[in-house]
Symmetry: C2
Subunit: 227 residues, 2 copies
């Protein structure tokens, strides 16, 4: 018997993968499916919404629901605080602030934050360690206007401070690979040119730019999720 | 006036970021919030579910809903078919099959797929091109049991064939950085050691292993999403 929305989701996937419902084709209405499966319409609705969020179905007001022609697989990544990510692997966390200075950001960063030339930001560079070994370099430009009182960044990383004090930002995040510069190689204690996994992020709180950060991970790092 | 669930979500976020509701603290019940906001309980429920999915709230049966102590930011990534990703950037797509052979996979891959030693798989290596330039190398091990009839992999990449014929797989996906080997450097026409963004994926259809693939992207690639 199909009872929960998860069962309905599984049955819909079965019909699609069994090519009973073909890519691009319309599927029955929620009312029809509720009757077929003997469940409440809300249960069908929940299952179809999940499948639409996963990219399997396309839902259009009035036009009904279709099987996606080119399903785009979606993967959800957790982006935890660096300290918790390291401790979550069972490693001892360490942290060293390397630079704290007010400065004019490079044009590329000013432009990503939508700042006029000449605006000064707080520039923070720090090293996160796992079991005493360098794990990643955090290079951050921070809008001083978001700091109510100046935190002691020698004690707590901006990464962690921001999540506790300016937690609900919007923005964009990117993942790429880069060869370690001479400076990065020295800080991470790896050969120059080693391939680093880089996460960059620009965030806003409403209309106000908050921060632009680059996290360069030591070789061997792998970001993982289920699909 | 607060009317839709999006308004309720925004108001809940405002109370959390304004520290009216503190990290770790319980928030009022759905009934209480519905009365406060003058909306249906289902509307409050929808907003709280979204915030729980985003990691902002923690919901426990009986214990009620709390503000997360360490909110984990979640980012959703689209993993499209390589051809559509390249065409979506407005570039001309090209494809070259470099190897198609039945072979025993390396132990690491056999183990990821849960295969006994000695089982043979189809090994496919191909190059995807954007505007005639190498964009990424696809190195794939494929379970021949998922192929009803043998596709012509010279005409269509396994990447695309699988999505059309074995679309609803589960599995895991990882992202990392790697220095280009001599062979990868030759195929991508980049210096040996260049930093490549690597996506690896292992998928299953029910209990049956489907494929283990490594996509090594030419330097400059950036995978991006909104948070």
């Amino acid at each position: 018997m199909l009872t929960g929305w998860e069962d309905i989701r599984t049955e819909v996937l079965r019909r699609i993968s069994g090519r009973e419902w073909l890519p691009g084709a319309s599927i029955p209405t929620e009312e029809q499916l509720a009757e077929t499966f003997g469940v409440a319409r809300a249960t069908v609705n929940r299952a179809l919404r999940e499948l639409a969020a996963e990219g399997v179905l396309e839902r259009r007001r009035k036009a009904g629901t279709r099987v996606a022609l080119h399903p785009v697989r979606k993967a959800t990544l957790d982006i935890p605080v660096t300290r918790l990510e390291i401790e979550g692997r069972g490693q001892r966390y360490g942290y060293r602030l390397l630079l704290e200075a007010e400065d004019e950001p490079p044009p590329a960063i000013a432009s990503r934050l939508g700042l006029a030339p000449g605006v000064r930001l707080l520039h923070l560079v720090c090293l996160h360690l796992a079991d005493g070994r360098p794990a990643l370099i955090e290079d951050r430009w921070l809008n001083p206007a978001v700091l109510p009182q100046k935190p002691d960044f020698h004690r707590q990383s901006a990464n962690e401070w921001l999540l506790a004090h300016v937690p609900y930002t919007t923005g964009d995040i990117g993942f790429s690979a880069a060869n370690a510069t001479a400076e990065e190689a020295r800080l991470l204690d790896v050969p120059q040119g080693a391939a680093l996994f880089v996460l960059d992020r620009t965030t806003w709180e409403g209309d106000r730019p908050v921060t632009c950060v680059r996290l360069a991970h030591a070789p061997g790092y792998r970001m993982q999720t289920l699909i």
